[in-house]
């Protein structure tokens, strides 16, 4: 079964550094998402992306965050200047259309020191 793949599985970075988390969504999917889960907290929505633009974003997704689909297969999340509180598991997801369930990747654990 096709799956969403995320790299790296674990990223350690120093506060203030830029990080890019990478995702390859399922190939025929058109909607792309980033979610995150801080340890001990709920999975929370960050951003949705469709037709090469952000369709919706949460209050968490401030100017430090950006997303990009640089080519036909990758979908990236960039955090410009990481803070300690950005430490979390970041999940990429995709869906084939507007109503279909989201398929999630296995996540990237980001640790900011």
């Amino acid at each position: 079964e096709p799956e969403v793949t995320q790299t790296p599985s674990h990223q350690v970075t120093q506060m203030g550094q830029e990080v890019i988390l990478r995702c390859v969504p399922i190939s025929n999917h058109l909607y792309f998402y980033w979610y995150r889960q801080i340890l001990g907290q709920k999975v929370e929505f960050l951003v949705s992306f469709y037709n090469n633009e952000i369709s919706e974003k949460s209050e968490i997704f401030d100017d430090q965050f950006s997303v990009e689909r640089p080519d036909g297969s990758n979908f990236t999340l960039k955090i410009r200047s990481t803070k300690l509180e950005d430490s979390a598991m970041y999940f990429c997801a995709s869906s084939v259309d507007i109503i279909s369930p989201l398929h999630f990747g296995n996540g990237t654990r980001l640790t900011v020191t």
């Binding site: 969403v4 709920k42 999975v43 949705s48 469709y50 369709s55 507007i98 369930p101 989201l102």
Partner: protein, 117 residues
Amino acid sequence: DQQVKQNSPSLSVQEGRISILNCDYTNSMFDYFLWYKKYPAEGPTFLISISSIKDKNEDGRFTVFLNKSAKHLSLHIVPSQPGDSAVYFCAASAQAPGGTSYGKLTFGQGTILTVHP
């Protein structure tokens, strides 16, 4: 954010019996509900969904019930198997402005299900 709540942090069930996981929501704009299962070190895996025009949806051993007036949904697993042991998340969404997607999911905090052989 308490819009979606799973009040039972854990549930323990004997193999072969029914598992019932519950979820409550407060936002009356939610009209699409999903259950996801999550194993450690993996992402959430979609199990079953239901839209607000229905009150029941069934897929094999999994049935989701929706009570809109009570703003409550439940997931029934019958019969439960040891491989069902995982964290179960309830999630809800409402169509985004402009009708672009149902992809903004609001998750509950999860219920750890343990099925004993």
